[in-house]
């Protein structure tokens, strides 16, 4: 489907009527600012960009798209790593950056109500003075938007204990792909009816646009204690993690980095991790002081039992921040040791870690492609960083092969092709490795209920779109048994 110039002119006029001329971009130079998200290898210049200031304007924009039959793609901060906010060449990119008001912080309700463009960290900043914070903490939290978090069901290092975005969003107001404004959930739990809120979170912009989000606030913990343990190998660090979990401890976070990831982080941010480490673990416990005190000693002992050769304990927030600095900068840091890299995101059952890491090592050796490993060790979410040099003939292809083979490993071990970065454009083709055609068809029944015309972020998540057809009604006339060729049975 391609939009003609006249259609586009009419659509642009409709958008200007909806949001005002200064909030519609149609100049090619300006449009190019939005040609990609955090996954810069895919680029598409949108036909138009609209920057609504509120939910009503957002709905008007969507209705204009519906009237024109034009696809639309929502965009928050554009930090997504799966091409979810990749624009549609014939469509409208709806950017939420003008919707950045924190509407309410209500500690007595343990809730905050925010517009979708609000930056993740801003919610915690607003709640902190009252003693509360917003728990999901993606590493991109200084720049990513709550709307994007909702769409991706984003996680973070502390999701091991606290859960993901879906466990912390209690309500949304959305603009449906028809342009209607609908509220799902709210301040109170368990709204009657289907849990459409639960289905909407993580739907990657394919079921509509969130225009207001009600999030749960979590009490700032009384006590936080963090240790950094250095091991000779990832196997030992993995064994320590297993021992901690087996002891019934649920740390706030357990993060692991391997030697290559450590050396990249050293080069980039001089985090000063113990020299010679084949792996480091960062383990953080939080909660009531007496609980943390009781469990922290146990964790330290379990690390030693599993042959940690050095353990450092953060004395204060400054030291804690230093421990985390190396980990949080890891993605960008590999830029120091490799001209190009792929950030992979896959999940395995945590107990398969040693085996999977060994296999990744073999893959890396076979193809001559280095892989640095950073992961949320507590929940088996791997972020292998596949390093290559696009200038070297054939390396890009081999890196992509390694990256794809890692996902196969995840699926083969009963894991997932994505733990937090989403499917988007990038991984739609991998979906059939994890799900049957019937599984995908069933998911798309939901899509058809929300978006029968297929205008909301088309081409993402699903490898092949499902034709929704008319809403089927009750069958009339021929008896269904007859229709199915069963009538002669009787």
């Amino acid at each position: 489907m391609s939009t003609t110039t006249t259609d586009l002119t009419a659509l642009a006029a409709a958008l200007r009527a909806a949001v005002g001329a200064d909030r519609v971009l149609s100049d090619r130079q300006e449009l190019r600012t939005y040609e990609c998200d955090g996954l810069a290898q895919y680029k598409v210049v949108p036909a138009l960009v609209a920057l609504p200031a509120d939910a009503a304007q957002c709905a008007a924009v969507v209705r204009a798209c519906v009237a024109a039959g034009a696809p639309f793609v929502a965009r928050g901060s554009g930090t997504g790593l799966s091409g979810g906010a990749l624009p549609h060449a014939d469509g409208v990119l709806i950017v939420t950056s003008q919707m950045r008001d924190i509407l309410e912080v209500a500690p007595s309700d343990e809730r905050a109500v925010v517009q979708p463009g609000v930056i993740n960290l801003a919610v915690s900043r607003a709640a902190n003075p009252h003693g509360w914070y917003y728990a999901p903490d993606p590493s991109s939290q200084q720049i990513c938007s709550i709307g994007g978090n909702v769409a991706e069901n984003s996680g973070g290092a502390h999701c091991l204990k606290y859960g993901f975005t879906t466990n912390h969003v209690t309500g949304v107001e959305l603009v449906t792909p028809d342009g209607d404004r609908v509220r799902l959930g709210g301040r109170a739990p368990d709204a009657p009816g289907y849990d459409l809120l639960g289905a909407f979170v993580g739907s990657e912009g394919t079921l509509g646009i969130a225009t207001e989000v009600t999030v749960r606030l979590t009490r700032l913990p009384e006590s936080v204690r963090t240790l950094l343990a250095a091991f000779d190998s990832t196997d030992q660090a993995g064994a320590a993690t297993s021992a901690i979990i087996a002891a019934g401890v649920v740390p706030a976070a357990v993060e692991m980095m391997d030697a290559l990831a450590i050396s990249a982080a050293e080069a980039a941010v001089h985090c000063g991790y113990p020299p010679g480490a084949g792996a480091v673990l960062i383990v953080e416990l939080d909660g009531p002081e007496p609980e943390v005190a009781a469990q922290f000693d146990q964790v330290e002992r379990l690390c030693r039992d599993n042959r940690a050769f050095e353990i450092r304990i953060a004395a204060d927030d400054v030291e804690r921040a230093l421990f985390w600095k190396g980990r949080k900068s890891a993605f960008a840091a590999v830029g120091r040791i490799s001209p190009d890299y792929i950030v992979q995101d896959g999940v395995i059952p945590r107990t398969a870690l040693p085996e999977v890491l060994r296999r990744i090592g073999e893959l890396s050796a076979e193809r001559g492609i280095r892989v640095a490993n950073v992961f949320h060790a507590g929940d088996g979410n791997l972020h292998p960083l596949v390093l290559f040099d696009a200038a070297v003939e054939g390396q890009t292809e081999r890196a992509e092969e390694v990256s794809g083979a890692i996902l196969d490993l995840c699926v083969r071990h009963g894991g997932s092709i994505t733990g937090e970065h989403g499917v988007g454009m990038d991984k739609a083709k991998y979906m059939p490795r994890m799900f049957t055609a019937d599984d995908l068809d069933t998911m798309q029944l939901l899509r058809c209920a929300f978006d029968p015309a297929g205008l909301a972020n088309p081409g993402k998540v699903f490898p092949t779109p499902r034709l929704c057809g008319e809403v089927p009604g009750r069958r009339k006339g021929v008896h269904p048994a007859q229709e199915a060729g069963l009538a002669e049975v009787f």
Partner: protein, 444 residues
């Protein structure tokens, strides 16, 4: 069409089904189910329904008891071809909940679809068949020092039933509800197609989260045959700290004080029986040393006459009603809990109806029970008043169960946001409206 011809068709469908999909666990013989396939003493896969099978007074014609996902799928395919209206039944503990089905031919009973398929203790996950009893599952997991942290307010329930009705209890405050613990689901659609969503790892954002969609859907979108759950370690220590007060609203205010402190309770409950008085109970879970210290802190916070105990107080985690009573779920924004407790009590006095209130003040969910002997007109008036009281605190009042005389007089669900979208979802999943028609919101 003769009834025994339909019975034959259903029996033929139940015979000789196999599963081949290697990617998913369904169809693997579970330990509990293994060896039962050829057991002549096992339940008949399809039988004519009896009087005891009626659902909320609506008689059924047939009962099927599939043993695995493949057999359930074959049965539902046949039911689709035969245009049979189907209702799913687990332990049968909540069949008098919601509205009776408008049309009912076939009951698919999941109790033979039982057993733990997988328990990966090191990964803190389990995969279980939907008909597995919650008690049996708890016993199996406890052997490894683990739990599915889902409190079942009614004894005898199955995993699938708990998911379908979104049942929850006190410890939802710390662990969340079924929607938060369910990480993967296998379902059979109305047309007999088998679909999976999620998986068996805790962290996973591939595809839509259909598990959430079917949680609390009362079996109107499909049959849940297998569930994968996130597990938690059993706490090394637990203690209950209780303080009695004069009235419900006071209990609500005390609960607010506890929330603002640093106790991180596993549960924070109020119990206000119809006869008057009220209690707040804090459940603390953790290490022995940690719990001991927190019990002292909780007692300081609640007041000098607070008492600590190893055992749960009477009625803990149970609904404040009995069979044949009217039972409601009331929700509120957290700051509105004391007000809701006060308003509910006042409304009960005004309508001259005894009202027992009990529930999770710490998360804004209360349950309310009215004796089945109360005059239906008055109960209906009280339901309206409770609906207004919950609306004033951003919540809802849903009648979960009620005697027919009350059910006929009230709107069970009250206002439902997003109902138009919900109808569209139902139409896509069950276009002929054969799955428990009329049981859910808006007559879905």
């Amino acid at each position: 069409m003769p009834a025994d011809a339909i019975l034959d068709r259903l029996r033929a469908a139940a015979d000789g089904t196999t599963t081949t999909d290697g990617r998913h666990t369904d169809g693997l013989p579970s330990q509990a189910a293994a060896g039962r396939t050829d057991n002549p003493d096992g339940p008949e896969p399809v039988r004519p329904a009896g009087e005891q099978d009626a659902i909320a007074g609506v008689p059924a014609r047939y009962v099927a008891m599939p043993r695995d996902t493949a057999q359930a799928a074959a049965l539902l395919r046949a039911a689709a071809a035969l245009d049979l209206a189907v209702t799913f039944r687990g332990g049968g503990t909540k069949q008098d909940w919601a509205s009776p089905p408008r049309r009912l031919d076939l009951i698919v009973d999941t109790t033979a679809l039982a057993g733990v398929v997988e328990h990966a203790a090191g990964d803190l996950i389990t995969v279980v068949r939907a008909g597995t009893g919650l008690d049996a599952l708890a016993a199996a997991l406890a052997a490894a020092g683990q739990q599915l942290a889902l409190d079942a307010p009614l004894p005898g329930g199955t995993v699938g039933g708990a998911v379908a009705t979104n049942a929850s209890g006190p410890r939802r405050m710390l662990y969340g509800t079924a929607r938060d613990l369910l990480i993967g689901v296998t379902l059979v659609r109305a047309d007999g197609v088998v679909a999976h969503a999620g998986g068996k790892v805790v962290k996973n954002v591939a595809g839509y989260d259909l598990g959430k969609l079917v949680t609390g859907a009362y079996g109107t979108l499909g049959l849940v045959t297998e569930c994968a759950f996130r597990l938690h370690p059993l706490p090394a220590a637990a203690a209950y700290v209780t303080r009695r007060v004069d009235d419900a609203a006071e209990a609500g205010r005390l609960a607010g004080t506890v929330r603002a402190a640093q106790l991180v309770p596993a549960a924070l409950e109020v119990d206000a029986p119809a006869g008057g008085g009220a209690a707040v109970t804090v459940l603390l879970e953790g290490t022995p040393a940690g719990v001991a210290a927190r019990v002292e802190a909780a007692a300081r916070l609640l007041g000098t006459d607070a008492t600590a105990a190893d055992q749960a107080p009477e009625g803990w985690g149970r609904y404040p009603w009995r069979d044949g009573d009217t039972g409601l779920k009331l929700t509120a924004a957290l700051s509105g809990v004391p007000r809701l407790l006060a308003d509910a009590r006042a409304a009960a006095d005004r309508h001259g109806v005894p009202l027992a209130l009990r529930g999770s003040a710490g998360v804004g969910v209360l349950h309310a029970g009215v004796p089945g002997t109360a005059e239906p007109e008055r109960v209906a008036g009280l339901v309206d008043a409770l609906r207004a009281a919950t609306a004033a605190v951003a919540g809802h009042a849903v009648v979960l169960t009620a005697p027919p005389t009350v059910r006929d007089r009230v709107d069970l669900w009250g206002p439902v946001d997003g109902l138009a979208l919900m109808r569209r979802v139902k139409q896509r999943f069950d276009p002929d409206a054969r799955l428990a028609p009329g049981r859910f919101v808006g007559g879905i």
